[in-house]
Protein backbone atom coordinates (compact mmCIF):
# COMPACT_ATOMS: atom_id res chain seq x y z
CA UNK A 1 0.00 0.00 0.00
CA UNK A 2 2.68 2.46 1.02
CA UNK A 3 4.95 1.54 -1.87
CA UNK A 4 2.07 1.72 -4.33
CA UNK A 5 1.26 5.22 -3.13
CA UNK A 6 4.91 6.09 -3.33
CA UNK A 7 4.91 5.03 -6.98
CA UNK A 8 1.74 7.02 -7.68
CA UNK A 9 3.28 10.03 -6.01
CA UNK A 10 6.50 9.78 -8.00
CA UNK A 11 4.59 9.41 -11.27
CA UNK A 12 2.49 12.47 -10.51
CA UNK A 13 5.52 14.33 -9.24
CA UNK A 14 7.56 13.68 -12.37
CA UNK A 15 4.76 15.15 -14.48
CA UNK A 16 4.56 18.16 -12.20
CA UNK A 17 8.30 18.53 -12.53
CA UNK A 18 8.08 18.73 -16.31
CA UNK A 19 5.30 21.31 -16.17
CA UNK A 20 7.34 23.33 -13.68
CA UNK A 21 10.43 23.11 -15.88
CA UNK A 22 8.57 24.96 -18.59
CA UNK A 23 7.80 27.76 -16.14
CA UNK A 24 11.25 27.87 -14.68
CA UNK A 25 13.05 28.05 -18.04
CA UNK A 26 11.02 31.04 -19.12
CA UNK A 27 11.37 32.73 -15.77
CA UNK A 28 15.09 32.11 -15.65
CA UNK A 29 15.74 33.68 -19.02
CA UNK A 30 13.06 36.33 -19.27
CA UNK A 31 12.11 37.00 -15.68
CA UNK A 32 8.51 36.51 -16.72
CA UNK A 33 5.83 34.31 -15.23
CA UNK A 34 4.24 32.68 -18.22
CA UNK A 35 0.61 32.34 -17.15
CA UNK A 36 -0.23 30.83 -20.55
CA UNK A 37 1.97 27.80 -19.96
CA UNK A 38 -0.87 25.80 -18.41
CA UNK A 39 -3.06 26.40 -21.44
CA UNK A 40 -0.32 25.42 -23.88
CA UNK A 41 0.07 22.28 -21.81
CA UNK A 42 -3.67 21.65 -22.11
CA UNK A 43 -3.49 22.09 -25.89
CA UNK A 44 -0.73 19.48 -25.99
CA UNK A 45 -3.03 17.08 -24.19
CA UNK A 46 -5.87 17.75 -26.63
CA UNK A 47 -3.58 17.23 -29.62
CA UNK A 48 -2.64 13.91 -28.06
CA UNK A 49 -6.30 12.93 -27.73
CA UNK A 50 -7.06 13.97 -31.30
CA UNK A 51 -4.17 12.04 -32.80
CA UNK A 52 -4.40 8.85 -30.78
CA UNK A 53 -8.14 8.53 -30.14
CA UNK A 54 -9.86 10.34 -32.98
CA UNK A 55 -7.36 9.56 -35.74
CA UNK A 56 -6.32 6.20 -34.25
CA UNK A 57 -2.65 6.88 -34.90
CA UNK A 58 0.17 5.53 -32.72
CA UNK A 59 1.21 7.27 -29.56
CA UNK A 60 4.60 8.47 -30.78
CA UNK A 61 2.88 10.42 -33.55
CA UNK A 62 0.71 11.98 -30.86
CA UNK A 63 3.83 13.11 -29.05
CA UNK A 64 5.33 14.45 -32.26
CA UNK A 65 2.20 16.39 -33.19
CA UNK A 66 1.85 17.78 -29.69
CA UNK A 67 5.48 18.90 -29.61
CA UNK A 68 5.21 20.56 -33.01
CA UNK A 69 1.97 22.40 -32.30
CA UNK A 70 2.89 23.55 -28.82
CA UNK A 71 6.26 24.71 -30.17
CA UNK A 72 4.47 26.82 -32.75
CA UNK A 73 2.20 28.15 -30.01
CA UNK A 74 5.27 29.01 -27.99
CA UNK A 75 6.68 30.94 -30.90
CA UNK A 76 3.42 32.84 -31.37
CA UNK A 77 3.27 33.60 -27.67
CA UNK A 78 6.75 35.05 -27.76
CA UNK A 79 6.20 36.90 -30.99
CA UNK A 80 2.84 38.51 -30.24
CA UNK A 81 2.51 38.72 -26.47
CA UNK A 82 6.04 39.07 -25.12
CA UNK A 83 8.27 40.62 -27.77
CA UNK A 84 6.20 43.80 -28.25
CA UNK A 85 6.61 44.53 -24.53
CA UNK A 86 10.36 44.08 -24.41
CA UNK A 87 12.61 47.14 -24.60
CA UNK A 88 9.58 49.35 -24.36
CA UNK A 89 10.09 52.36 -22.15
CA UNK A 90 7.88 52.94 -19.19
CA UNK A 91 6.22 49.54 -19.25
CA UNK A 92 5.41 48.18 -15.82
CA UNK A 93 7.10 44.90 -14.96
CA UNK A 94 3.61 43.51 -14.50
CA UNK A 95 2.72 44.06 -18.15
CA UNK A 96 4.14 40.75 -19.45
CA UNK A 97 2.38 38.89 -16.64
CA UNK A 98 -0.94 40.46 -17.58
CA UNK A 99 -0.27 39.87 -21.24
CA UNK A 100 0.26 36.15 -20.70
CA UNK A 101 -2.90 36.06 -18.60
CA UNK A 102 -4.60 37.41 -21.72
CA UNK A 103 -3.12 34.60 -23.80
CA UNK A 104 -4.27 32.04 -21.25
CA UNK A 105 -7.84 33.34 -21.29
CA UNK A 106 -7.84 33.32 -25.07
CA UNK A 107 -6.49 29.78 -25.31
CA UNK A 108 -8.76 28.36 -22.64
CA UNK A 109 -11.87 29.65 -24.33
CA UNK A 110 -10.57 28.76 -27.76
CA UNK A 111 -10.28 25.18 -26.59
CA UNK A 112 -13.86 25.34 -25.27
CA UNK A 113 -14.94 26.18 -28.78
CA UNK A 114 -12.65 23.75 -30.57
CA UNK A 115 -12.96 20.71 -28.33
CA UNK A 116 -16.07 21.34 -26.24
CA UNK A 117 -16.23 21.80 -22.51
CA UNK A 118 -16.61 18.11 -21.72
CA UNK A 119 -14.20 15.49 -20.57
CA UNK A 120 -12.22 13.65 -23.24
CA UNK A 121 -10.93 10.20 -22.34
CA UNK A 122 -7.34 9.48 -23.28
CA UNK A 123 -6.81 5.78 -23.74
CA UNK A 124 -3.32 4.54 -24.32
CA UNK A 125 -3.38 1.11 -25.97
CA UNK A 126 -1.40 -0.30 -23.05
CA UNK A 127 -3.46 1.31 -20.31
CA UNK A 128 -4.54 -1.99 -18.74
CA UNK A 129 -1.18 -3.72 -18.71
CA UNK A 130 0.20 -4.02 -15.22
CA UNK A 131 2.73 -5.98 -13.26
CA UNK A 132 2.29 -7.70 -9.93
CA UNK A 133 5.31 -7.69 -7.70
CA UNK A 134 4.25 -9.28 -4.49
CA UNK A 135 1.19 -7.32 -3.41
CA UNK A 136 2.15 -4.24 -5.41
CA UNK A 137 0.53 -3.36 -8.72
CA UNK A 138 2.45 -1.20 -11.14
CA UNK A 139 0.88 -0.02 -14.36
CA UNK A 140 2.94 0.16 -17.52
CA UNK A 141 1.59 3.68 -18.09
CA UNK A 142 3.23 4.78 -14.86
CA UNK A 143 6.55 3.36 -15.96
CA UNK A 144 6.28 5.01 -19.37
CA UNK A 145 5.46 8.36 -17.79
CA UNK A 146 8.28 8.09 -15.33
CA UNK A 147 10.83 7.03 -17.98
CA UNK A 148 9.84 9.78 -20.39
CA UNK A 149 10.02 12.36 -17.61
CA UNK A 150 13.43 11.22 -16.48
CA UNK A 151 14.75 11.17 -20.05
CA UNK A 152 13.39 14.64 -20.61
CA UNK A 153 14.91 15.98 -17.44
CA UNK A 154 18.26 14.38 -18.16
CA UNK A 155 18.26 15.66 -21.73
CA UNK A 156 17.46 19.14 -20.51
CA UNK A 157 20.15 19.06 -17.85
CA UNK A 158 22.70 17.81 -20.39
CA UNK A 159 21.63 20.39 -22.93
CA UNK A 160 21.80 23.22 -20.43
CA UNK A 161 25.06 22.08 -18.94
CA UNK A 162 27.14 20.81 -21.83
CA UNK A 163 26.04 22.22 -25.18
CA UNK A 164 26.88 25.61 -26.57
CA UNK A 165 23.25 26.63 -26.95
CA UNK A 166 22.61 25.59 -23.37
CA UNK A 167 25.51 27.68 -22.15
CA UNK A 168 24.27 30.63 -24.17
CA UNK A 169 20.88 30.18 -22.54
CA UNK A 170 22.36 30.15 -19.07
CA UNK A 171 24.46 33.19 -19.89
CA UNK A 172 21.34 34.99 -21.07
CA UNK A 173 19.53 33.98 -17.92
CA UNK A 174 22.34 35.35 -15.79
CA UNK A 175 22.61 38.69 -17.53
CA UNK A 176 20.95 39.52 -20.79
CA UNK A 177 23.08 42.53 -21.65
CA UNK A 178 26.41 40.94 -20.85
CA UNK A 179 25.50 37.83 -22.81
CA UNK A 180 24.53 39.98 -25.74
CA UNK A 181 27.84 41.87 -25.52
CA UNK A 182 29.72 38.58 -25.52
CA UNK A 183 28.17 37.67 -28.83
CA UNK A 184 25.16 35.60 -27.76
CA UNK A 185 22.20 36.14 -30.03
CA UNK A 186 19.88 36.80 -27.10
CA UNK A 187 16.84 37.38 -29.25
CA UNK A 188 17.18 33.90 -30.69
CA UNK A 189 17.87 32.41 -27.27
CA UNK A 190 14.75 33.98 -25.83
CA UNK A 191 12.58 32.71 -28.65
CA UNK A 192 14.15 29.29 -28.38
CA UNK A 193 13.57 29.18 -24.62
CA UNK A 194 9.88 29.93 -24.94
CA UNK A 195 9.56 27.35 -27.72
CA UNK A 196 11.35 24.64 -25.75
CA UNK A 197 9.38 25.41 -22.61
CA UNK A 198 6.12 25.23 -24.56
CA UNK A 199 7.06 21.95 -26.24
CA UNK A 200 7.84 20.48 -22.83
CA UNK A 201 4.41 21.66 -21.75
CA UNK A 202 2.95 19.79 -24.73
CA UNK A 203 4.73 16.57 -23.74
CA UNK A 204 3.57 16.99 -20.16
CA UNK A 205 0.03 17.42 -21.47
CA UNK A 206 0.07 14.00 -23.09
CA UNK A 207 1.63 12.43 -20.01
CA UNK A 208 -1.11 13.88 -17.81
CA UNK A 209 -3.75 12.73 -20.28
CA UNK A 210 -2.37 9.20 -20.04
CA UNK A 211 -2.02 9.30 -16.27
CA UNK A 212 -5.56 10.48 -15.54
CA UNK A 213 -7.24 9.20 -18.70
CA UNK A 214 -9.04 12.50 -19.01
CA UNK A 215 -8.47 15.80 -20.79
CA UNK A 216 -10.56 18.93 -20.16
CA UNK A 217 -10.16 22.62 -21.02
CA UNK A 218 -9.95 23.37 -17.30
CA UNK A 219 -6.90 21.20 -16.70
CA UNK A 220 -4.59 23.93 -17.97
CA UNK A 221 -5.56 26.29 -15.19
CA UNK A 222 -5.18 23.90 -12.28
CA UNK A 223 -1.92 22.49 -13.62
CA UNK A 224 -0.61 25.95 -14.42
CA UNK A 225 -1.27 27.16 -10.88
CA UNK A 226 0.45 24.10 -9.47
CA UNK A 227 3.42 24.66 -11.76
CA UNK A 228 3.70 28.17 -10.37
CA UNK A 229 3.55 26.87 -6.84
CA UNK A 230 6.32 24.39 -7.63
CA UNK A 231 8.73 26.94 -9.01
CA UNK A 232 8.24 29.08 -5.93
CA UNK A 233 8.77 25.99 -3.80
CA UNK A 234 11.93 25.04 -5.63
CA UNK A 235 13.25 28.53 -6.27
CA UNK A 236 12.36 30.68 -9.22
CA UNK A 237 14.37 29.97 -12.35
CA UNK A 238 16.08 27.01 -10.71
CA UNK A 239 16.01 23.85 -12.86
CA UNK A 240 16.91 21.37 -10.12
CA UNK A 241 14.50 23.12 -7.78
CA UNK A 242 11.67 22.63 -10.25
CA UNK A 243 12.37 18.91 -10.51
CA UNK A 244 12.62 18.43 -6.75
CA UNK A 245 9.64 20.70 -6.09
CA UNK A 246 7.55 18.70 -8.55
CA UNK A 247 8.37 15.43 -6.84
CA UNK A 248 7.69 16.89 -3.39
CA UNK A 249 4.30 18.21 -4.44
CA UNK A 250 3.37 14.97 -6.23
CA UNK A 251 4.18 12.91 -3.16
CA UNK A 252 2.50 15.35 -0.78
CA UNK A 253 -0.71 15.34 -2.80
CA UNK A 254 -0.80 11.58 -3.11
CA UNK A 255 -0.30 11.09 0.60
CA UNK A 256 -2.87 13.63 1.67
CA UNK A 257 -5.44 11.78 -0.42
CA UNK A 258 -4.53 8.53 1.35
CA UNK A 259 -4.07 9.75 4.90
CA UNK A 260 -5.91 13.04 5.04
CA UNK A 261 -8.78 14.85 3.40
CA UNK A 262 -8.80 14.47 -0.38
CA UNK A 263 -10.83 17.66 -0.78
CA UNK A 264 -7.88 19.76 0.26
CA UNK A 265 -5.55 18.17 -2.26
CA UNK A 266 -5.55 21.20 -4.52
CA UNK A 267 -4.85 23.57 -1.66
CA UNK A 268 -1.60 21.95 -0.53
CA UNK A 269 0.42 23.56 -3.29
CA UNK A 270 -0.66 27.03 -2.25
CA UNK A 271 -0.41 26.47 1.46
CA UNK A 272 3.10 25.22 0.79
CA UNK A 273 4.09 28.34 -1.12
CA UNK A 274 2.59 30.64 1.49
CA UNK A 275 4.64 28.87 4.16
CA UNK A 276 7.76 28.76 1.97
CA UNK A 277 7.57 32.44 1.19
CA UNK A 278 7.34 33.27 4.85
CA UNK A 279 10.20 31.07 5.96
CA UNK A 280 12.49 30.86 2.97
CA UNK A 281 11.37 33.27 0.26
CA UNK A 282 14.10 32.27 -2.15
CA UNK A 283 12.66 28.75 -2.35
CA UNK A 284 14.09 25.46 -1.17
CA UNK A 285 16.95 25.46 -3.68
CA UNK A 286 17.19 29.11 -4.57
CA UNK A 287 20.24 31.23 -3.91
CA UNK A 288 18.82 34.69 -3.53
CA UNK A 289 15.82 36.62 -4.61
CA UNK A 290 16.26 38.96 -7.50
CA UNK A 291 13.93 41.88 -7.37
Amino acid sequence: MLIEQLINGITLGSIYAIVALGFTLVFGVLGIINMAHGEIFMFGAFIGVLVTTSLQLPLWLGFLAAILITAVMGYMLERFALRPLRHKQGVSHLAPLISTIGVSILLENLSHHLFGAGNHPFRASFAEINFQIGSITIYLVQIVIFVISVILMMALSFWLGKTKAGKALRATAENLETASLLGVDTKRIITMTVIIASAMGGIAGILVGMAFNSVTPQMGLSMGLKGLAIIILGGMGNVKGAMAGGLILGLAETFIVVYGDSGYRDAIAFLAIIVILLIRPQGLFGQKIST
Partner: protein, 325 residues
Protein backbone atom coordinates in the same frame (compact mmCIF):
# COMPACT_ATOMS: atom_id res chain seq x y z
CA UNK B 1 -44.64 56.98 -16.99
CA UNK B 2 -42.11 55.87 -14.39
CA UNK B 3 -43.46 52.36 -14.49
CA UNK B 4 -42.83 52.02 -18.20
CA UNK B 5 -39.27 53.24 -17.88
CA UNK B 6 -38.30 50.63 -15.36
CA UNK B 7 -37.31 47.31 -16.79
CA UNK B 8 -36.04 45.04 -13.98
CA UNK B 9 -33.49 43.49 -16.33
CA UNK B 10 -31.87 46.82 -17.12
CA UNK B 11 -31.65 47.65 -13.46
CA UNK B 12 -30.17 44.26 -12.72
CA UNK B 13 -27.40 44.90 -15.27
CA UNK B 14 -26.89 48.40 -13.91
CA UNK B 15 -26.53 47.00 -10.39
CA UNK B 16 -23.87 44.56 -11.54
CA UNK B 17 -22.03 47.38 -13.26
CA UNK B 18 -21.97 49.28 -10.00
CA UNK B 19 -20.72 46.29 -8.02
CA UNK B 20 -18.05 45.67 -10.64
CA UNK B 21 -16.98 49.30 -10.42
CA UNK B 22 -16.41 48.87 -6.69
CA UNK B 23 -14.41 45.71 -7.39
CA UNK B 24 -12.39 47.47 -10.04
CA UNK B 25 -11.56 50.27 -7.61
CA UNK B 26 -10.49 47.69 -5.03
CA UNK B 27 -7.78 46.39 -7.38
CA UNK B 28 -6.88 49.93 -8.43
CA UNK B 29 -6.25 50.96 -4.83
CA UNK B 30 -3.79 48.14 -4.18
CA UNK B 31 -2.21 48.74 -7.57
CA UNK B 32 -1.77 52.43 -6.80
CA UNK B 33 1.11 51.42 -4.53
CA UNK B 34 2.52 49.20 -7.27
CA UNK B 35 1.27 45.93 -5.77
CA UNK B 36 -0.73 43.60 -7.97
CA UNK B 37 -3.19 41.64 -5.86
CA UNK B 38 -5.07 38.77 -7.43
CA UNK B 39 -6.68 37.83 -4.13
CA UNK B 40 -9.53 40.29 -4.44
CA UNK B 41 -11.90 37.66 -5.77
CA UNK B 42 -11.08 35.66 -2.65
CA UNK B 43 -11.71 38.66 -0.40
CA UNK B 44 -14.95 39.22 -2.25
CA UNK B 45 -15.89 35.64 -1.44
CA UNK B 46 -15.01 36.14 2.23
CA UNK B 47 -17.24 39.21 2.37
CA UNK B 48 -20.08 37.47 0.59
CA UNK B 49 -19.97 34.31 2.71
CA UNK B 50 -19.54 36.18 5.99
CA UNK B 51 -22.48 38.42 5.35
CA UNK B 52 -24.68 35.66 3.94
CA UNK B 53 -24.02 33.27 6.83
CA UNK B 54 -24.46 35.95 9.50
CA UNK B 55 -27.76 37.17 8.10
CA UNK B 56 -29.11 33.65 7.55
CA UNK B 57 -28.03 31.98 10.79
CA UNK B 58 -28.07 34.89 13.23
CA UNK B 59 -30.84 37.00 11.67
CA UNK B 60 -28.48 39.95 11.60
CA UNK B 61 -29.78 42.98 9.71
CA UNK B 62 -28.32 43.13 6.18
CA UNK B 63 -26.49 46.38 6.90
CA UNK B 64 -24.61 44.85 9.81
CA UNK B 65 -23.93 41.72 7.76
CA UNK B 66 -22.38 43.74 4.95
CA UNK B 67 -20.27 45.76 7.35
CA UNK B 68 -19.13 42.57 9.09
CA UNK B 69 -18.30 41.00 5.73
CA UNK B 70 -16.19 43.96 4.69
CA UNK B 71 -14.41 44.08 8.05
CA UNK B 72 -13.61 40.37 8.09
CA UNK B 73 -12.20 40.68 4.57
CA UNK B 74 -10.13 43.69 5.64
CA UNK B 75 -8.84 41.85 8.69
CA UNK B 76 -7.77 38.96 6.51
CA UNK B 77 -6.25 41.46 4.12
CA UNK B 78 -4.08 42.84 6.92
CA UNK B 79 -3.12 39.34 8.02
CA UNK B 80 -2.13 38.41 4.48
CA UNK B 81 -0.71 41.80 3.68
CA UNK B 82 1.88 42.03 6.45
CA UNK B 83 3.81 38.85 5.64
CA UNK B 84 3.50 39.18 1.87
CA UNK B 85 4.87 42.70 1.94
CA UNK B 86 8.40 41.53 1.51
CA UNK B 87 7.36 40.10 -1.83
CA UNK B 88 7.28 42.24 -4.89
CA UNK B 89 5.83 42.21 -8.34
CA UNK B 90 5.20 38.75 -9.71
CA UNK B 91 5.85 37.03 -6.39
CA UNK B 92 3.08 38.97 -4.74
CA UNK B 93 0.79 38.34 -7.70
CA UNK B 94 1.32 34.59 -7.46
CA UNK B 95 0.95 34.39 -3.70
CA UNK B 96 -2.27 36.37 -3.79
CA UNK B 97 -3.47 34.16 -6.63
CA UNK B 98 -2.63 31.13 -4.50
CA UNK B 99 -4.38 32.63 -1.52
CA UNK B 100 -7.52 33.10 -3.61
CA UNK B 101 -7.36 29.44 -4.60
CA UNK B 102 -6.98 28.35 -0.98
CA UNK B 103 -10.07 30.35 -0.05
CA UNK B 104 -12.02 28.73 -2.86
CA UNK B 105 -10.94 25.23 -1.84
CA UNK B 106 -11.93 25.97 1.76
CA UNK B 107 -15.37 27.17 0.62
CA UNK B 108 -15.86 23.95 -1.34
CA UNK B 109 -14.69 21.65 1.43
CA UNK B 110 -16.11 23.23 4.56
CA UNK B 111 -19.47 21.75 3.70
CA UNK B 112 -21.06 21.96 7.13
CA UNK B 113 -20.81 25.74 6.96
CA UNK B 114 -20.74 26.68 3.29
CA UNK B 115 -22.74 23.81 1.74
CA UNK B 116 -19.77 23.11 -0.52
CA UNK B 117 -19.89 23.66 -4.24
CA UNK B 118 -23.71 23.76 -4.19
CA UNK B 119 -23.51 27.24 -2.75
CA UNK B 120 -25.82 29.13 -0.42
CA UNK B 121 -29.26 30.14 -1.54
CA UNK B 122 -32.01 32.06 0.21
CA UNK B 123 -29.77 34.89 1.28
CA UNK B 124 -31.83 37.88 2.45
CA UNK B 125 -32.38 40.18 -0.51
CA UNK B 126 -31.63 43.89 -0.07
CA UNK B 127 -34.47 45.06 -2.29
CA UNK B 128 -37.13 42.94 -0.64
CA UNK B 129 -35.86 43.96 2.75
CA UNK B 130 -36.15 47.64 1.84
CA UNK B 131 -39.63 47.07 0.50
CA UNK B 132 -40.86 45.25 3.58
CA UNK B 133 -39.34 47.87 5.85
CA UNK B 134 -41.03 50.67 3.92
CA UNK B 135 -44.28 48.74 3.92
CA UNK B 136 -43.97 48.61 7.68
CA UNK B 137 -44.15 52.40 7.61
CA UNK B 138 -47.28 52.19 5.50
CA UNK B 139 -45.58 52.89 2.18
CA UNK B 140 -46.88 51.22 -0.96
CA UNK B 141 -44.95 51.26 -4.26
CA UNK B 142 -48.31 51.73 -6.01
CA UNK B 143 -48.13 55.33 -4.89
CA UNK B 144 -45.33 55.75 -7.41
CA UNK B 145 -47.22 53.63 -9.91
CA UNK B 146 -44.74 50.76 -9.61
CA UNK B 147 -45.03 47.01 -9.30
CA UNK B 148 -43.40 45.45 -6.26
CA UNK B 149 -40.51 43.92 -8.19
CA UNK B 150 -39.95 47.12 -10.16
CA UNK B 151 -39.60 48.96 -6.92
CA UNK B 152 -37.23 46.30 -5.60
CA UNK B 153 -34.85 46.64 -8.53
CA UNK B 154 -35.09 50.42 -8.54
CA UNK B 155 -34.27 50.61 -4.84
CA UNK B 156 -31.27 48.29 -5.22
CA UNK B 157 -29.98 50.37 -8.07
CA UNK B 158 -30.38 53.65 -6.23
CA UNK B 159 -28.77 52.25 -3.11
CA UNK B 160 -25.79 50.88 -5.03
CA UNK B 161 -25.52 54.09 -6.99
CA UNK B 162 -25.25 56.16 -3.84
CA UNK B 163 -22.76 53.71 -2.36
CA UNK B 164 -20.62 53.73 -5.50
CA UNK B 165 -20.62 57.52 -5.68
CA UNK B 166 -19.58 57.56 -2.03
CA UNK B 167 -16.74 55.13 -2.69
CA UNK B 168 -15.50 57.09 -5.70
CA UNK B 169 -15.73 60.34 -3.77
CA UNK B 170 -13.78 58.89 -0.86
CA UNK B 171 -10.95 57.52 -2.96
CA UNK B 172 -10.67 60.67 -5.05
CA UNK B 173 -10.31 62.61 -1.83
CA UNK B 174 -7.79 60.13 -0.55
CA UNK B 175 -5.82 60.40 -3.77
CA UNK B 176 -5.28 64.09 -3.17
CA UNK B 177 -4.46 63.63 0.49
CA UNK B 178 -1.25 62.77 2.27
CA UNK B 179 -2.12 59.07 1.91
CA UNK B 180 -2.64 59.36 -1.82
CA UNK B 181 0.67 61.13 -2.30
CA UNK B 182 2.39 58.45 -0.22
CA UNK B 183 0.83 55.75 -2.41
CA UNK B 184 2.00 57.48 -5.57
CA UNK B 185 5.52 57.93 -4.20
CA UNK B 186 5.75 54.26 -3.26
CA UNK B 187 4.54 53.23 -6.69
CA UNK B 188 7.12 55.42 -8.38
CA UNK B 189 10.11 54.33 -6.33
CA UNK B 190 9.86 52.43 -3.09
CA UNK B 191 13.39 53.11 -1.91
CA UNK B 192 13.21 56.80 -2.67
CA UNK B 193 9.88 57.01 -0.89
CA UNK B 194 11.33 55.31 2.15
CA UNK B 195 14.28 57.66 2.27
CA UNK B 196 11.86 60.58 2.13
CA UNK B 197 10.46 59.36 5.42
CA UNK B 198 7.38 57.57 4.18
CA UNK B 199 6.52 54.54 6.26
CA UNK B 200 6.17 52.17 3.33
CA UNK B 201 5.14 49.16 5.42
CA UNK B 202 2.24 51.09 6.86
CA UNK B 203 1.06 52.48 3.55
CA UNK B 204 1.42 49.23 1.64
CA UNK B 205 -0.54 47.31 4.25
CA UNK B 206 -3.07 50.13 4.27
CA UNK B 207 -3.51 49.90 0.51
CA UNK B 208 -3.77 46.13 0.66
CA UNK B 209 -6.32 46.28 3.47
CA UNK B 210 -8.34 48.94 1.69
CA UNK B 211 -8.46 46.74 -1.39
CA UNK B 212 -9.57 43.77 0.72
CA UNK B 213 -12.15 45.86 2.58
CA UNK B 214 -13.61 47.17 -0.63
CA UNK B 215 -13.77 43.81 -2.36
CA UNK B 216 -15.26 42.20 0.74
CA UNK B 217 -17.82 44.98 0.78
CA UNK B 218 -18.61 44.47 -2.90
CA UNK B 219 -18.85 40.72 -2.30
CA UNK B 220 -21.34 41.21 0.53
CA UNK B 221 -23.43 43.49 -1.67
CA UNK B 222 -23.23 40.92 -4.43
CA UNK B 223 -24.54 38.20 -2.10
CA UNK B 224 -27.53 40.27 -1.03
CA UNK B 225 -28.36 41.46 -4.53
CA UNK B 226 -28.20 38.02 -6.11
CA UNK B 227 -29.45 36.08 -3.03
CA UNK B 228 -27.32 33.14 -4.15
CA UNK B 229 -23.56 32.53 -3.99
CA UNK B 230 -21.31 29.58 -4.72
CA UNK B 231 -17.53 29.08 -4.58
CA UNK B 232 -17.33 29.28 -8.38
CA UNK B 233 -18.36 32.94 -8.18
CA UNK B 234 -15.09 33.79 -6.50
CA UNK B 235 -12.61 31.68 -8.41
CA UNK B 236 -9.64 32.51 -10.61
CA UNK B 237 -11.85 33.74 -13.41
CA UNK B 238 -13.41 36.37 -11.23
CA UNK B 239 -9.97 37.53 -10.14
CA UNK B 240 -8.89 37.87 -13.74
CA UNK B 241 -12.13 39.58 -14.73
CA UNK B 242 -11.65 42.24 -12.07
CA UNK B 243 -8.05 42.67 -13.17
CA UNK B 244 -9.21 43.17 -16.75
CA UNK B 245 -11.53 46.00 -15.70
CA UNK B 246 -8.50 47.83 -14.38
CA UNK B 247 -6.11 46.89 -17.16
CA UNK B 248 -8.59 47.79 -19.86
CA UNK B 249 -9.81 51.03 -18.38
CA UNK B 250 -6.45 52.16 -17.08
CA UNK B 251 -4.67 51.64 -13.79
CA UNK B 252 -3.24 55.14 -13.36
CA UNK B 253 -6.40 57.05 -12.57
CA UNK B 254 -9.55 56.06 -10.72
CA UNK B 255 -11.66 56.70 -13.82
CA UNK B 256 -9.87 53.81 -15.52
CA UNK B 257 -11.39 50.94 -13.52
CA UNK B 258 -14.73 52.75 -13.45
CA UNK B 259 -14.80 52.96 -17.22
CA UNK B 260 -13.41 49.44 -17.59
CA UNK B 261 -16.04 47.90 -15.32
CA UNK B 262 -18.80 49.89 -16.97
CA UNK B 263 -17.83 49.09 -20.54
CA UNK B 264 -16.89 45.44 -20.07
CA UNK B 265 -19.99 44.61 -18.03
CA UNK B 266 -22.27 46.35 -20.48
CA UNK B 267 -20.66 45.07 -23.68
CA UNK B 268 -21.73 41.40 -23.46
CA UNK B 269 -25.26 42.47 -22.50
CA UNK B 270 -25.65 44.84 -25.39
CA UNK B 271 -23.95 42.59 -27.91
CA UNK B 272 -25.72 39.36 -27.07
CA UNK B 273 -24.34 37.52 -30.08
CA UNK B 274 -20.86 38.28 -28.87
CA UNK B 275 -21.28 37.00 -25.34
CA UNK B 276 -20.34 33.47 -26.38
CA UNK B 277 -16.97 34.77 -27.47
CA UNK B 278 -16.74 37.20 -24.59
CA UNK B 279 -13.75 35.69 -22.88
CA UNK B 280 -11.84 35.18 -26.09
CA UNK B 281 -12.35 38.85 -26.82
CA UNK B 282 -11.23 39.66 -23.27
CA UNK B 283 -8.04 37.73 -23.91
CA UNK B 284 -7.37 39.50 -27.19
CA UNK B 285 -8.10 42.89 -25.64
CA UNK B 286 -5.54 42.26 -22.92
CA UNK B 287 -2.83 41.11 -25.34
CA UNK B 288 -3.37 44.02 -27.70
CA UNK B 289 -3.64 46.60 -24.93
CA UNK B 290 -0.46 45.43 -23.26
CA UNK B 291 1.40 45.73 -26.55
CA UNK B 292 -0.10 49.04 -27.65
CA UNK B 293 -1.26 50.87 -24.58
CA UNK B 294 -0.08 49.15 -21.40
CA UNK B 295 -1.40 51.91 -19.15
CA UNK B 296 -5.00 51.23 -20.25
CA UNK B 297 -7.43 53.32 -22.25
CA UNK B 298 -7.74 56.18 -19.80
CA UNK B 299 -4.56 57.72 -18.48
CA UNK B 300 -3.35 61.01 -17.07
CA UNK B 301 -2.60 62.51 -20.48
CA UNK B 302 -6.04 61.73 -21.80
CA UNK B 303 -7.68 63.27 -18.75
CA UNK B 304 -5.58 66.41 -19.09
CA UNK B 305 -6.45 66.62 -22.75
CA UNK B 306 -10.14 66.33 -21.90
CA UNK B 307 -9.73 68.96 -19.22
CA UNK B 308 -8.01 71.48 -21.47
CA UNK B 309 -10.58 70.78 -24.15
CA UNK B 310 -13.32 71.44 -21.63
CA UNK B 311 -12.05 74.84 -20.57
CA UNK B 312 -10.37 76.33 -23.58
CA UNK B 313 -8.49 79.00 -21.71
CA UNK B 314 -6.92 76.55 -19.30
CA UNK B 315 -3.49 76.22 -20.84
CA UNK B 316 -1.65 77.53 -17.80
CA UNK B 317 -3.68 75.39 -15.44
CA UNK B 318 -3.12 72.24 -17.40
CA UNK B 319 0.64 72.23 -17.00
CA UNK B 320 0.63 72.93 -13.30
CA UNK B 321 -1.15 69.83 -12.06
CA UNK B 322 -0.26 67.04 -14.42
CA UNK B 323 0.18 64.66 -11.53
CA UNK B 324 -3.09 65.36 -9.81
CA UNK B 325 -5.86 62.96 -10.68
Amino acid sequence: MLAELINPYHFQVASFILINIILGISVYITLSTGQLSLANAGFMGIGAYTSALLTIHFDLPIVLGIIAGALVAALLGILIGIPTLRLQGVYLAIVTLGFGEVIRVVFINWESLTKGSVGISGIPHIGREILSTLKGFGFDPKVLGLQNNQFIFLSIFLLLFIITIGVIWFFRRQHRSRVGRAFAAIKLDEKAAESMGINITYYKVLAFAQGALLSGFAGALYAHVLAYISPADFAYHRAVEILIFVVFGGSEVIWGPIFGAFFLTLMPEVLRFISEYRYMIYGLIIIILMAVRPQGLIDVNLLNWVKTKGKKRGQKHGTGNTKSM
